[in-house]
């Protein structure tokens, strides 16, 4: 294994071991499973098929998955920074980029476990228990398939990855656990509601509704929702899509993920230099 990959793999192993030994993350996954099960039972869609189940889960997913992802990521990089262990790690031949990549990859694996498994269990339950419901199928023109649910799950994980990465950036920027919680909450609210509010404001300001498919994809939640409508729900009842530009939506989710990683890496790599520069300026003003 090359040096860089070895550094990433070593950090990844340590971070994954930390996640596995943190019981709270298991509780989080169980809580998500219970919440999803409850929502499905209340909505009734799970009893009739995958697409109705997705319809029931779509809106809660836009809040629950970002929430779980932020919980998984908001302390990812803060732990070593706050304890002082990052200063020790940086005396070893592992670059900041490798360190961030290792931590982030481990947190993404944790996301797959904490979010992917509950959603997969729900999918399995729907598969085993759903019975045809004429009324619901009439609504959805009769197309249903486990493949649609697999697509939904993939989009869920893409959405979660974007929020884990953004939360990791928050954890690099935060000075303490308290500020990480505050910044993480802010990122969560901005991510979940911000895109839609901006879109509504632009429409109210006279923007053409034809721009919606393009602009909705810019925010992570809008991109996710668009993809689910385009490739899961829309498949069942609309021969023509047009809810969102698929390449743009996928690029948006991947882009948010990369942005989080880059911000986290840059913060750790240049934070000390920026801090020293601020001190120089402060000293210069004081003198």
């Amino acid at each position: 294994m090359s040096g860089r990959l070895s550094g990433v793999a070593t950090v990844f192993r340590r971070e994954l071991a930390t996640v596995v030994r943190t019981p709270g993350y298991g509780v989080l996954a169980v809580g998500l499973l219970v919440a999803l099960g409850g929502l499905l039972a209340a909505g009734g869609g799970g009893a009739t098929g995958f697409v109705p189940a997705v319809v029931d889960l779509l809106l809660p997913t836009e809040a629950l998955v970002p929430l779980v992802a932020v919980v998984l990521g908001y302390r990812a990089l803060l732990t070593d920074t706050a304890s002082g262990e990052l200063a020790v790690i940086r005396t070893y031949p592992v670059r900041v980029g490798e360190y961030v990549a290792g931590v982030l990859l481990a947190r993404l694996v944790a996301l797959v476990a904490a979010v992917g498994v509950p959603y997969a269990v729900i999918g399995a339950v729907v598969w085993l228990t759903a019975a045809p419901d004429t009324g619901i199928f009439a609504t959805h023109t009769g197309v249903d398939s486990p493949l649609l649910y697999v697509r939904f799950l993939a989009f869920v994980l893409l959405l979660g990855a974007a929020y884990v990465s953004l939360a990791a950036a928050v954890s690099a920027l935060a000075a303490s656990r308290r500020s990480a919680i505050a910044l993480g909450s802010l990122a969560l609210v901005a991510g979940v509601l911000g895109g839609d509010l901006v879109l509504l404001r632009s429409l109210a300001g006279g923007a053409s509704p034809t721009t919606v498919p393009a602009s909705i994809a810019l925010a992570p939640n809008g991109a996710f929702r668009g993809l689910v409508f385009e490739h899961v729900i829309g498949v069942a009842f609309a021969p023509e899509g047009g809810f969102v530009s698929t390449p743009r939506a996928v690029a948006s989710l991947v882009g948010w993920t990369l942005l989080g990683a880059v911000v986290a890496g840059a913060t750790l790599a240049y934070g000390r230099r920026v801090d020293a520069t601020v001190e120089r300026v402060r000293r210069g003003i004081g003198d």
Binding site: A17, Y92, A175, A276, R282
Partner: protein
């Protein structure tokens, strides 16, 4: 043994919140044990953090002309920072994998061979510190920087920690320790740097400094340079691994006494 310095600080300065905690420090770190002593708030930890690159100086520069290898610098922070939930062996194994070293051999070197399966949070303060020293020595660095390796330990453990640190200073390896344990500095240090209010008050080979100040040992030298008001710096040792004043935590994990230069503890600080 190499003639040149392993590391070199040139007119290094650092401020926190506009307050100068280290000022115009120039220093060559040569092979052997260099002890940095001084009252609380004198800038010891900041100096060491600048030396290892953990803190960026606001002025001046640090160079490493003699620090070579895959891991040129080993560092033990004042507060040993290892993650809970991992055993001592697992903790060292993480670092050892980064430099292809043997964690068990490192544990043996500091006398923790039998404690490898203990979780970090179950280790005593002294054992954690020894674990930190073992970590700092992984990869055989040319420069080992140990911030208070003997802090908060009982006499036997202090001696053991210092001996483990001094053993590293063989050949071309330079070991820099900050300490309030002047008896151990006297026993193990080749060179002494005395800081006062962020500046170097005296620096050089221990024997030369003792001669110049007519001191019998480092404690007398310390009193001669810092003055009686400086008292014995060891008086602040609270026994829990932390210093008696000025603990400040900032985002870079810089829990050091140097960040609050104006703290006054009667009979301890020189202010």
């Amino acid at each position: 043994m190499s003639d040149g310095p392993v590391a070199s600080l040139s007119e290094a300065a650092r401020t926190y919140g506009g307050v100068r905690v280290l000022d115009d420090v120039s220093l060559d770190v040569e092979p052997g044990v260099t002890a940095v002593v001084g009252p609380n708030g004198s800038g010891k930890s900041t100096l060491l953090r600048i030396l290892v690159g953990a803190t960026e100086p606001t002025a001046g520069e640090v160079r490493y002309p003699g620090a070579t290898g895959a891991k040129p610098i080993g560092y033990l922070p004042q507060r040993v920072p290892f993650r809970d939930g991992f055993t001592a062996r697992e903790t060292l194994a993480f670092y050892a994998r980064l430099v292809d070293d043997d964690p068990d051999a490192a544990l043996e070197r500091v006398g923790l061979g039998d404690a490898g399966d203990k979780r970090v949070e179950a280790l005593s303060g002294g054992m954690r510190r020894l674990l930190g020293i073992a970590q700092a020595g992984l990869g055989d660095p040319s420069l080992a920087v140990l911030d208070e390796p003997a802090s908060g330990l009982d006499p036997g453990m202090r001696e053991r920690a210092f001996r483990a640190a001094a053993r590293r200073a063989a050949g071309d390896t330079a070991v820099v320790v900050s300490s309030h344990a002047l008896d151990l500095v006297d026993a193990h240090a080749d060179r002494v740097v005395i800081l006062r209010r962020g500046r170097v008050a005296a620096a050089g080979p221990r024997d030369r400094l003792l001669d110049e100040h007519g001191a019998a040992d480092v404690s007398e030298l310390y009193r001669a340079v810092i003055g009686e008001s400086g008292a014995s710096p060891g008086e602040t040792d609270t026994g829990d691994g932390t210093e008696g004043d000025g603990e400040r935590e900032d985002r870079d994990g810089e829990g050091d006494e140097d960040a609050e230069p104006d703290v006054h503890v009667t009979g301890v600080s020189d202010r």
